[in-house]
């Protein structure tokens, strides 16, 4: 039993490392023929294992995808090998981005109402940076609806918007859960974590 668990954990580790942009627990479960809650238990174990001082990387979840990241204190070394370009975002752009991230999908008018200010330039710039994207809605007048992209999650290393806007907005608890997971799942169906809690 224990041996089996160990193998599965190793398999999960291999899958995470071999994937290009990270892999969702749901996909791991599918590949390994495991139940999602079993995968989650092993992922938690793996996360703890890597917290040890002997490891230079840590396991993180970004937009629901499991990935390894180098540890903070080693950055000065890692920087000499690989570096990513700085993303320059002004304060006003960040404000607009925050609205889109927390409230998205939203129309430009919604954003402007919240800020009490024209926000067209900021949205255009964020679109150019591909941190937000827009789609035509079916609302009267077919206004564009803005929402954050996968790149947004990658750049900010955010797993779920609720991390930065925890309990800030008066949304119904149940609604909150489903809405945020909807945003984070572009190619995967939202995973129902409750499914395995019964046993």
């Amino acid at each position: 039993m224990n041996e089996d668990n160990l193998n599965k954990k190793a398999a999960i580790e291999a899958l995470i490392l071999a994937s290009k942009r990270g892999v969702t627990p749901k996909k791991i479960a599918k590949i390994l023929g495991m139940r999602l809650n079993q995968v989650m238990v092993l992922v938690d174990e793996l996360t703890d294992d890597y917290k040890s001082k002997d490891h230079g990387v840590q396991l993180m979840s970004v937009e629901g995808k499991l990935r390894f990241y180098t540890k903070k204190d080693l950055q000065s070394y890692v920087d000499r090998l690989t570096k990513r370009p700085l993303v320059k975002i002004t304060d006003t752009q960040m404000e607009v981005l925050a609205i889109v991230a927390v409230r998205g999908p939203v129309t430009r008018v919604d954003v402007e109402l919240m800020r009490g200010k024209n926000s067209q330039a900021q949205l255009a710039e964020l679109l150019k940076m591909s941190l937000v994207r827009r789609t035509k809605s079916k609302l009267p007048g077919n206004p564009y609806m803005y929402k954050v992209t996968s790149k947004f999650y990658d750049v900010f290393q955010i797993d779920d918007v609720s991390e930065i806007a925890e309990k800030l907005f008066q949304k119904k608890e149940s609604e909150d859960e489903s809405e945020t997971s909807e945003i984070s799942s572009e190619d995967d169906e939202p995973v129902q974590e409750e499914s395995g809690q019964g046993d």
Partner: protein, 230 residues
């Protein structure tokens, strides 16, 4: 004698809500605990300062100022009925909510800035795939669905139907038949070769009867139609 100039500095504000937050923060209490009239007065006073310093006061600020003044005046006037009172309290609620929401957005925006800063201390690590390897791409369901529907459509388009030119028309046959005084239906139909021709001829006879041009005169030994003379 050198002229000494007084230099004022004012913090820059992103917009009217930003200025409102700044004014509220100076009170060190919740927005809802500051009387509307105080907020309105301070806001307008600040705009005056901005004008004095020849700072651009954009229309957003003016709109907010007028909204605040309107609410202030409403608060001062004795309210006539409960309907008006209700309306006013809703407007007030909406205003407070807007300020509070904006404050939250500011907080989120600050958190994002922090996250961005922090993100640079971590690099994504993966087993670097060499050129000889390829990721197994699972086509998103939407794409496969779209592809399936295209396949189905092309398949349906491939079914070719042969369309023949109309060989016999009921109208033409009617004209031909009208030249005759009598039509013996069975004999007439038996003299024809194709099924289509028979059908068309039969329909033509029916049509002629319907138009009142011919009439059935006997059924024995076969249906006989005769022209109706006017």
């Amino acid at each position: 004698m050198s002229e000494e100039k007084l230099v004022f500095t004012l913090p820059e504000f992103e917009g009217p809500l930003d200025l409102l937050l700044f004014l509220v923060r100076k009170h060190r209490v919740d927005v809802r605990q500051i009387p509307l009239s105080t907020i309105a007065d301070e806001f307008v006073a600040h705009l005056e300062k901005m004008k004095f310093l020849e700072l651009e006061v954009t229309s957003d600020f003016i709109i907010m100022a007028s909204t605040l003044m309107q609410m202030k005046s409403k608060a001062l006037l004795p309210r006539m009925n409960s309907e008006e009172e209700q309306e006013f309290s809703e407007q007030k609620q909406a205003f407070y909510q807007q300020v509070e929401e904006y404050k939250k957005i500011k907080d989120v925006s600050k958190k994002l800035r922090h996250r961005l800063y922090e993100s640079y201390s971590r690099n994504h690590v993966k087993a670097n795939t060499l050129d000889i390897e390829k990721e197994v791409e699972e086509l998103p369901e939407q794409l496969t669905d779209a592809f399936k529907s295209i396949m189905k459509e092309t398949f349906e388009k491939d079914r070719v139907y042969t369309v023949y030119a109309e060989l016999f028309s009921v109208e033409e046959r009617m004209n031909e038949l009208e030249e005759r005084f009598e039509i013996s239906l069975i004999t007439e139909l038996k003299s024809l070769s194709g099924r289509l021709e028979i059908i068309v001829t039969f329909l033509a006879v029916l049509e002629l009867v319907k138009l009142g041009k011919y009439t059935l005169v006997s059924l024995e030994p076969e249906p006989l139609f005769r022209r109706v003379e006017n």
